[in-house]
C-alpha cells in the first residue's frame, strides 16, 4: 500500500475515532442520566459544546506553556492513534493498521503519559494556585495506574515474545479461547482493573471531577483551549479502549466489531462508576497498589519461569 493511501486511511480513521469518542461520551452520559431517571443530554451535545467553545469571543492566554498544554494532550491522543493497529485485516500493511511497527507497544505506553505531562506544564503556567495540587494528585494516581498496566503489558509481551501490538492481535485470532483474557488471565485481570483508573471514570475521577474544589489543571482553560481538551478527551477514551481491546479482547476484524468492543470496554468503567462513589486519591492509590499491582506481578512472575 502506498504511503498516500495509508495517510488517507489514517486521516479518515482519526475522524471516525474522534466522532465515535464524542458519541460514546454522550451515550454514557445518557445511560448515567437514565440510571438517575432523567432524560439526559441530547446525543449531539458534545459537538454543540465543542462549537460553542470554539466560538467564544474572549480567549485569555497565560503564555506559551499554557497554550501548549492542551496541544500536548491532543498530541498524546493522536500519537496513540497513529501507532495503533485499529482493524485486523490480515496484513500489517493493510488499510486500518495506521503506522504500527515492531515495538509500538513501548511507544504507546509513552504516549499514554504524554498528555498528562503536557497538562502539568500548561496548568503550572495557568496562574491558578491549586493547579499544582491538582496535577500532583493526577500524577500520583496515574503512576499507580501505570505500574500494574506496564507489568501486565510486559507479561503479554513475554507471552507472545513480541512488542508489536499487531502481532499480539494476530496471535489472538481464531476463536475466543485464544484471547489473552483466557490464555493469560492474571495479566487480563490486572488490565481490566487498572483500566478503570486509565479511563478516568468514577470512582477514580477525583482529578478531573468538576465539582471538586480543586478542579485542578483544567480550571483556567476556556474557549478554544477547552475545545482542544474535549477533543483530546474523546480521542483518548476511544484509543485506550482500543488498546485494551487489542491486548486482551482479541482485537477487531471490522469497524463494527471495534465499535461494539470499545463501547463495552468503556461501559465497564461507567458501570463501575454507577455503583461506586468517588474515591479519595490515597484510597485509589492504595487500591491500585493492593489489587491490580499484585495481579500484574503474578502475571509477570508466571511467564518469567
Amino acid at each position: 500500500m502506498s504511503i498516500y493511501a495509508k495517510l488517507a486511511y489514517t486521516i479518515l480513521g482519526f475522524l471516525i475515532v474522534l466522532n465515535w469518542g464524542f458519541l460514546m461520551g454522550a451515550t454514557m452520559r445518557k445511560i448515567g442520566a437514565r440510571m438517575a431517571g432523567r432524560h439526559g443530554i441530547p446525543f449531539v451535545q458534545p459537538w454543540i459544546n465543542l462549537l460553542k467553545n470554539i466560538s467564544t469571543r474572549t480567549v485569555i492566554t497565560h503564555g506559551i506553556m499554557y497554550y501548549i498544554g492542551p496541544v500536548f494532550r491532543l498530541t498524546g491522543g493522536v500519537g496513540l492513534f497513529l501507532f495503533m493497529p485499529m482493524v485486523f485485516t490480515g496484513s500489517v500493511d493493510g488499510p486500518w493498521t495506521n503506522f504500527s511497527f515492531e515495538g509500538d507497544l513501548i511507544l504507546i505506553m509513552y504516549f499514554n503519559v504524554f498528555g498528562m505531562l503536557g497538562m502539568a506544564l500548561g496548568a503550572g503556567e495557568g496562574g491558578h494556585p491549586y493547579a499544582a495540587m491538582g496535577i500532583v494528585r493526577g500524577l500520583a494516581q496515574h503512576a499507580a495506574v501505570e505500574l500494574p498496566l506496564t507489568l501486565a503489558f510486559l507479561s503479554i509481551a513475554i507471552q507472545f515474545d513480541t512488542f508489536s501490538i499487531y502481532k499480539i492481535v494476530e496471535a489472538q485470532q481464531g476463536g475466543i479461547m485464544n484471547w489473552v483474557l483466557f490464555t493469560n488471565p492474571f495479566a487480563a485481570a490486572a488490565i481490566i482493573l487498572a483500566m478503570l483508573g486509565a479511563l478516568g471514570h468514577s470512582p477514580f475521577n477525583l482529578v478531573k471531577a468538576p465539582n471538586e474544589i480543586l478542579i485542578g489543571p483544567a480550571t483556567e482553560y476556556e474557549g478554544t483551549y477547552l475545545g482542544f481538551m474535549m477533543s483530546a478527551g474523546a480521542t483518548l477514551h476511544v484509543m485506550e479502549a482500543v488498546l485494551f481491546m487489542n491486548l486482551v479482547f482479541g482485537g477487531a476484524t471490522s469497524w463494527i466489531e471495534l465499535i461494539v468492543k470499545s463501547f463495552l470496554i468503556y461501559f465497564w468503567s461507567v458501570f463501575v462508576g454507577m455503583v461506586f462513589p468517588r474515591f479519595k486519591i490515597e484510597q485509589s492509590v492504595t487500591w491500585f497498589f493492593k489489587v491490580p499491582l499484585v495481579l500484574g506481578l503474578l502475571a509477570v512472575i508466571i511467564y518469567m519461569f
Binding site: 432523567r38 469571543r57 480567549v59 478542579i215
Partner: protein, 240 residues
C-alpha cells in the same frame, strides 16, 4: 431616600471618620504587590509589578458579532450549550439544585453547571445581592469569556423585593451589571427558571443577547455606579 443617595451619605461619613483618624491614603495594592525592583538569582536587577499577575490593566473591548449566517449558526450553538456558573449569590440558589433532578432535568435543554467562571457563559444572580457579594459578582462576571449572559432570579434583583430598605443589599441589579433575562417571583419556582433559560435561548438565537458588549460600551457608567456603592474598592477597575 434612594439607595444611591443613602450610600453617598455613608461614603461621606466614612471619609470624614477616616480624615479624623488621619489615616494614610489607602490603595488596593498590598505592600508585597507594589511595583518594585528585585535582585534576580544571577545578580541582575529586574522590575516586577506583581499586581498585574493577578489582574489585567486593560479595559474591556467591544467584540462585534460577525453577522450573517455564520453568527446565526454560532448563536444556535451558544443557545443550545448554556454553561451556568455554580455560584449561588442569594437565597434563590436553593431553586437551582432541583434543576438537576429527574423532575426538571435541565440537561435536556443543553444547560449544565460549570465550576469556574472561565468555562461558563451564563451567570444566575439568585435573589438578593448584598454589597459584599456584589464585589465578588463583578469580579466573577468580568472573568467570564464573552459572550456572556446574566439571568436575574427573583424580585430582589428587580426592585429589592422584601429587602428594598436594607442597608446592605442593592435594589436594582442592572445599575451594576447588565441583565439579559429577569425571572420575577419570590421565590420563582424551578419551572420559572427553566422558562427563563428558554427565553434566554430565544434571545441568543435572535442575536439580542449582546449585553457583554453593552457592558464594555457603557463601562464608565457601570463602574461609577459600582464604586458609589462598594465602599472598600480594593481592586483595579477591570480584572480578568
Amino acid at each position: 431616600m434612594s439607595e444611591l443617595d443613602l450610600n453617598d451619605k455613608m461614603n461621606e461619613m466614612l471619609a470624614n471618620s477616616e480624615a479624623n483618624a488621619k489615616k494614610a491614603e489607602k490603595t488596593f495594592v498590598r505592600p508585597e504587590d507594589e511595583e518594585r525592583e528585585v535582585v534576580a538569582p544571577d545578580g541582575s536587577i529586574i522590575k516586577v509589578n506583581p499586581i498585574y499577575d493577578y489582574f489585567s490593566g486593560e479595559r474591556p473591548q467591544e467584540e462585534k458579532p460577525r453577522g450573517g449566517i455564520v453568527e446565526k449558526f454560532l448563536n444556535w450553538a451558544r443557545a443550545e450549550s448554556i454553561w451556568v456558573l455554580g455560584f449561588g449569590t442569594g437565597c434563590g440558589s436553593i431553586e437551582i439544585p432541583p434543576l438537576v433532578t429527574p423532575r426538571f432535568d435541565m440537561f435536556r435543554y443543553g444547560v449544565q453547571m460549570r465550576p469556574t467562571p472561565r468555562q461558563s457563559n451564563a451567570f444566575i444572580i439568585s435573589g438578593y445581592l448584598s454589597i459584599k457579594t456584589l464585589k465578588r459578582v463583578i469580579r466573577t462576571y468580568e472573568q467570564m469569556p464573552s459572550p456572556k449572559y446574566i439571568l436575574a432570579l427573583g424580585s430582589c434583583t428587580i426592585n429589592g423585593g422584601m429587602y428594598y430598605d436594607s442597608y446592605s443589599t442593592i435594589n436594582r441589579l442592572d445599575k451594576y451589571i447588565p441583565v439579559d433575562v429577569y425571572i420575577a417571583g419570590c421565590m420563582p419556582r424551578p419551572e420559572a427558571l427553566l422558562h427563563g433559560f428558554v427565553k434566554l435561548k430565544q434571545l441568543i438565537k435572535e442575536g439580542k443577547a449582546e449585553k457583554a458588549n453593552e457592558y464594555a460600551r457603557n463601562f464608565d457608567e457601570y463602574k461609577a455606579n459600582q464604586k458609589k456603592i462598594i465602599k472598600d474598592w480594593n481592586m483595579p477597575d477591570y480584572n480578568w
